[in-house]
């Protein structure tokens, strides 16, 4: 369907002002997250997340590779996001490519941790032999339907998929030429990837003069600007990007970040609780 009309937009903006959104939610209310764990058999960890009509699928694959020469003692994370043309007619052909790249960048920025290991994945722990061998983590996401808040859904699905990921146990030994050799250990079950510090992205948008979270697709065109705040489980802001054409008021910016900080840890806690209830399958 084409964009919504001016009359509908005005109605939505007024509703957000009155704290009654078109689906009855309040401004700071998320839609229920519905998860499916380990949906892709070939992946080392995967999750499909439904957020109202929004539907995203994230698969994680862990492979052996060579570290980047610029950071020889770190593993690597590669993120790709593909927008299915089922999600929206705009994504037909190469239509969704630009947006996919944009989403992948935002996601990658939130997943790649600092060298100190304060946020995201601890890349240093993914290195097996400095300069020679490390783990490459491929996070491949597919947007199956755009019902609003796709970036938020992707980040939550990515966190869930990473937490479900099992990494093969390997043994590193030195051979006669003093070259390290990596061998798979006999254990069938891998070790879980440490995703405890991986943040999720809470998108807070300005509609009228209010800050709103988890916009539905019909609300998105009403937003003047959105802050995508990456928050970790300790309510720390580890990343911040802005989208939308208008500038943000300083006081509102503060409020929006605070909204994200308040919501983030709760969502992460609920996600973790759900994931820990899933039985481990090999």
């Amino acid at each position: 369907m084409a964009d919504i009309s001016l009359g509908e937009r005005i109605y939505i903006v007024q509703g957000i002002e009155q704290d009654v959104r078109t689906d009855g939610r309040s401004r700071a209310q998320y839609r229920p997250l519905e998860l499916e764990a380990n949906v892709v058999a070939q992946a080392d960890g995967s999750a499909r997340l439904h957020l109202g009509p929004t539907d995203v699928l994230v698969g994680v694959k862990v492979e052996l590779g060579v570290p980047d020469s610029a950071s020889p003692s770190q593993g690597q994370v590669h993120v790709s996001v593909e927008c299915s043309s089922c999600a929206s007619p705009e994504f037909k052909g190469r239509g969704g490519e630009d947006w996919g790249i944009e989403l992948a960048r935002a996601l990658e920025a939130s997943l790649v941790g600092s060298p100190a290991g304060g946020s995201g994945l601890d890349l240093a722990s993914l290195c097996l032999v400095p300069g020679k061998t490390c783990w490459l983590v491929y996070v491949d996401a597919l947007v199956l339907n755009d019902g609003g808040n796709v970036l938020g859904a992707l980040s939550m699905a990515a966190r869930a998929a990473l937490a479900l990921t099992r990494v093969y146990k390997v043994e590193v030994s030195m051979n006669e030429d003093d070259e390290p050799e990596v061998e798979l250990s006999g254990e069938p079950e891998g070790a879980p990837l440490d995703a405890a510090n991986v943040p999720i992205i809470v998108s807070v948008s300005q509609v009228g003069n209010r800050s709103v979270v988890d916009l539905a697709s019909e609300e998105e065109p009403c937003a003047a600007a959105s802050l995508h705040v990456a928050v970790n489980s300790k309510a720390r802001v580890v990343g911040l990007t802005k989208s939308g054409s208008s500038g943000l008021d300083p006081s509102l910016t503060q409020e929006m970040v605070e909204v994200a900080q308040k919501l983030g840890p709760g969502i992460i806690a609920s996600l973790d609780k759900y994931i820990s209830s899933i039985p481990v399958t090999s």
Partner: protein, 342 residues
């Protein structure tokens, strides 16, 4: 505020429907429902195969999921999910997608796009005259791309295209409300499609194409024309008179301008809006259970949600759907008893 995280259950609503509907006597045999590949019973040797069927090795198979319909010798499958099939005289709600020459193209969620000719609309001011080139240039001032309109199906072309008209004052642009989309089949044909729900002060325009417009009540005259344009319904127009440049920007999609227009225009009260949103929630809940959507059923679902003390945002949740399904079972039982008595 905590966020709900749970596992996704595909088809849970369907399971709920089949579980609860077991309690009521079936009016149709099991074989009336078919899935793709199911064999359809053909008692008589002579039959006409219709839509959704195929003859394979002398057996009639279904090529669609749905209900088998038999009219004389014709056997066809009425699919559960389908696009809207227009009939002349249907009241529909659609969205303008394009302005092309002398007509607006309107998306009705049907197989083909519908057309609304400029000669099939009432010109502003209600003047009856020949449409000229100036009117054609001013088409966008009446309906622009993205606008929702209510209209009536005037006719069908040879190629299946749909012709609409808005030649009555009750039809036209919709604003100051919200849209709910359901399966076209769930909207029943009624005597009146523009209704005000009893005691709720909420207007519902049930488009037969499955698009339902829900808005705060606007008093209408005998002819169906709004008596006094409520402020919020006329919001864009009112704002246009004050600051035309802002509205042009707002229509262009500038969020800041939209916010300004929204602040300038008076809207429904919070209480009124909550009623509208709850009605929309009731319609969504009915559609989730594949129940017919008509004024009585909407009011029933609305009342049920209030009695159950369910928040609007939880109206599509399992807990409320179960309540609603139970009520529907009770209603059908009562009807069955009634029919037996009569």
């Amino acid at each position: 505020m905590s966020v709900v995280v749970r596992s996704f259950e595909a088809g849970s609503n369907l399971k709920l429907i089949s579980k609860t509907s077991k309690a009521v006597a079936k009016s149709t045999p099991d074989s009336a429902y078919v899935c793709v590949g199911d064999t359809i019973d053909t008692e008589e040797p002579e039959f006409l195969k219709g839509h959704g069927t195929a003859l394979v090795d002398g057996r009639l198979l279904a090529t669609l999921c749905g209900v088998v319909q038999r009219i004389d010798k014709l056997i066809y499958v009425q699919p559960v999910k389908s696009r809207y099939t227009p009939e002349v005289g249907d009241v529909v709600v659609g969205r303008v997608t394009e302005i092309a020459g002398k007509r607006w193209k309107v998306d009705l969620n049907s197989r083909q796009e519908a057309g609304l000719l400029i000669s099939a609309v009432n010109l502003p001011g209600g003047v009856q005259r020949r449409r000229n080139a100036v009117d054609e240039l001013n088409m966008r001032s009446m309906f622009r791309e993205g606008d929702l309109i209510s209209a009536e199906v005037q006719g069908k072309n040879q190629d299946g295209g749909i012709q609409l008209h808005t030649r009555s004052v009750k039809f036209g642009k919709l604003s100051g409300g919200q849209l709910v989309v359901v399966q076209p089949k769930l909207v029943r044909k009624q005597r009146f499609h523009f209704t005000t729900l009893q005691g709720l002060d909420v207007d519902v325009i049930a488009g037969l194409n499955g698009l339902i417009w829900v808005s705060p009540h606007i008093p209408r005259g005998e002819d169906g024309a709004p008596l006094q344009q409520q402020q919020q319904a006329a919001a864009p127009a009112a704002a246009e008179q004050q600051q035309p440049s802002t509205v042009a920007a707002a229509a262009g999609g500038n969020p800041a301008a939209i916010a300004a227009a929204a602040a300038a225009a008076g809207g429904p009260s919070k209480q009124q809006r909550e009623a509208v949103v709850r009605v929309a929630g009731a319609i969504r809940a009915l559609a989730a259970l594949m129940l017919q959507v008509y004024p009585d059923s909407i009011v029933e679902a609305y009342t049920a949600s209030i009695e159950a003390g369910v928040a609007v945002s939880d109206m599509s949740e399992r807990r409320f759907l179960e309540v609603l399904a139970q009520r529907e079972v009770a209603r059908r039982r009562r009807e069955a008893v009634h029919a037996a008595d009569g």
